[in-house]
Amino acid sequence: MTAVAPPAAPTPAADAARHVGFSHLLMAEWTKIRSVRSTVWTLVIFAVVSLGLTGLITWLTIRALNSGRAGGRSSGIAADPVNFILGTGLGLGQLAICVLGVLVITSEYSSGTIRASLLATPRRYPLLIAKGLVFGALVFVVGEAVAFGAFFLGAAIVHSHFPVALSQPGVTRAVIGSGLYLTVLGLFALAIGSLIRHTAGAVTTVIGLVLVIFNLTGLLPYSWGAHIHAYMPTVAGLLITQDKAQAGQLLSPWQGFGVFCAWTALLLIAGGYLLQRRDA
């Protein structure tokens, strides 16, 4: 400790040849995201809640049907069993993705890591883009795995009453779409996190928007109310997770997904702009 060894000087020749690019930034962001426990825990909670609830609720519903006590409650699952399977567990599990999306950026602010990050990468847009790509890729992989897992689990449980398969129209798209929806939802949360910068405030905002505000617009009267509701980010985004079109649906599944992506892109650009403008 007392001896001071000089930092080894890099050889100038090797130094000049070394190119620093975007791939280095991606590697750095991957190290950041995998080296904190909150990432692992949040994703484990997401998987456990999504698969656990899918299994539990489909099993309870089928048991009620078997004993003839389901009454009118069986109509939902009868009308669209795929949507029933995908909607139960993932509907709650998505909140974990919201929390993780927020944490990925706000934990940098709360811990002060953002300053180390910005000293290493003073160009701030690439930093946010790299973070978004790495986080998006992670949620995509985990989200698709859990979406397929939830589908197969639920399909196996409801099989005796409602045989469903990926080969049925729109089903594969709905399952893949669930993973895509979760990916964009994570980026949506990341964008809100980059705007608000405080964990608690950003988590509250995202969950409030996703669970309450966007759905409340469905209560707006007249046809313009219906249009506003249809274009709300997660309302539009969820269309891609549904194998059958709902009555009075204004957007196609891919249009809805496009609307969700556009909202998210807009918020990410706003987050990037503020990141560039604000003192860190």
Binding site: P10, V20, H24, M27, S111, G112, T113, A120, A280
Partner: protein
């Protein structure tokens, strides 16, 4: 070289940095001094591109920080010690920084060994002491082996051994020709580390000079005289143009504190009249006092202090006989003895 030109930063209507200009030369340790709230950290953050100035520029080797192609290999910086995720290990913190610059992971092991953190490198930093966190910050600053280093209060939280280590490290890095810019609010720490001082108060430049010159220019010089015939001697000195104050050591009278007259002259006066002297000591006020005096008007958070005690022992690093004819009027301290 780090150059700051007419830099101004306001937070709301509060001016943190006010038209500040200075340069930091390579090959020496430049101390950046000022009371709490003087704008030291803000200036460093402006140099590093973390904050945006309202006007003015800060450049490193002629480039703004955000124009540097490989920033960590140009400037290493230590800001707040605890600015890292408590759940991430020191190794992973340094690894992501290295990866972002395309530096090999081997470099992380090197700097961890350099700061002595190898044994705890894979433990989460949440359990680190302030001193250990400070070492991680220093390791991060050295990661890119940069020719310039900006260190904000690097000895905060370090034990005496750690302080010595940082001090020697800075001196060695400066001797290698690097630019070392280190802030502190501790004057005496800077006195033994810095070759050059930049002093600011309320965001404005107060002094920009070699440390030695700063001490000599700013320090109050006095001579402590003890004599059984104190009244007679003080009358004599006053007649000859000196200023005499009763020096106190706590509440005990400790002797006479003479300003405006050098020790040899006092000795000669006493000898001519046959006055017995028990002590005749030239004193240089400590750098701490010089700093306080200089920044008294510009301290952001002044505390109400009781009447200042007499000059302390000449413990300043530049302690020695004062050059004849030097010195400047000092604010009245202690009780003046009427002639």
């Amino acid at each position: 070289m780090i150059e700051v030109r007419d830099l101004t930063k306001r937070f709301g209507d509060k001016v943190a940095v006010d038209h500040l200009s200075f340069s930091v030369e390579p090959g020496r340790v430049t101390g950046f001094l000022g009371p709490n709230g003087a704008g030291k950290s803000t200036t460093m953050r402006l140099i590093l591109g973390l904050d945006r100035p309202q006007s003015g520029t800060a450049t490193i080797d002629g480039k703004r920080y955000n124009q540097l192609p490989r920033p960590l290999e140009t400037v290493g910086a230590l800001l707040e010690a605890k600015a890292m995720h408590t759940g991430r290990s020191a190794y992973n913190h340094l690894l992501f920084l290295a990866q972002s610059q395309g530096l090999p992971a081997r470099r992380v092991d090197e700097v961890l060994a350099l700061v002595g953190l190898t044994p705890v490198a894979h433990k989460r930093t949440g359990g680190y002491s302030l001193g250990m966190s400070q070492r991680v910050g220093i390791a991060a600053a050295l990661l890119g082996n940069p020719p310039a280093l900006l260190l904000d209060e690097p000895v905060n939280g370090l034990d005496p051994e750690g302080i010595l280590w940082v001090r020697n490290l800075m001196k060695q890095l400066a001797a290698e020709g690097r630019t070392i810019f280190v802030s502190s609010h501790l004057m005496n720490e800077m006195a033994v580390t810095a070759d050059h001082l930049i002093v600011i108060g309320k965001g404005k430049l107060i002094a920009d000079s070699p440390t030695q010159e700063f001490i000599e220019r700013s320090s109050e010089r006095s001579v402590l005289v003890r004599s059984p015939q104190a009244d007679l001697l003080s009358e004599l000195i006053t007649t000859e143009g000196g200023v005499v104050k009763q020096d106190t050591n706590g509440t005990q009278p400790a002797g006479l504190s003479v300003t405006g007259m050098e020790a040899p002259r006092i000795g000669e006066l006493a000898a001519a009249r046959g006055i017995v002297l028990h002590e005749l000591t030239p004193r240089l006020a400590s750098l701490e006092e010089a700093f306080m005096e200089l920044t008294a008007d510009s301290a952001e958070f002044g505390a109400a202090t009781p009447a200042a005690p007499g000059p302390t022992e000449g413990s300043g690093p530049a302690h020695g006989p004062a050059p004849a004819g030097a010195g400047q009027p000092a604010p009245a301290q202690g009780e003046e003895i009427a002639p």
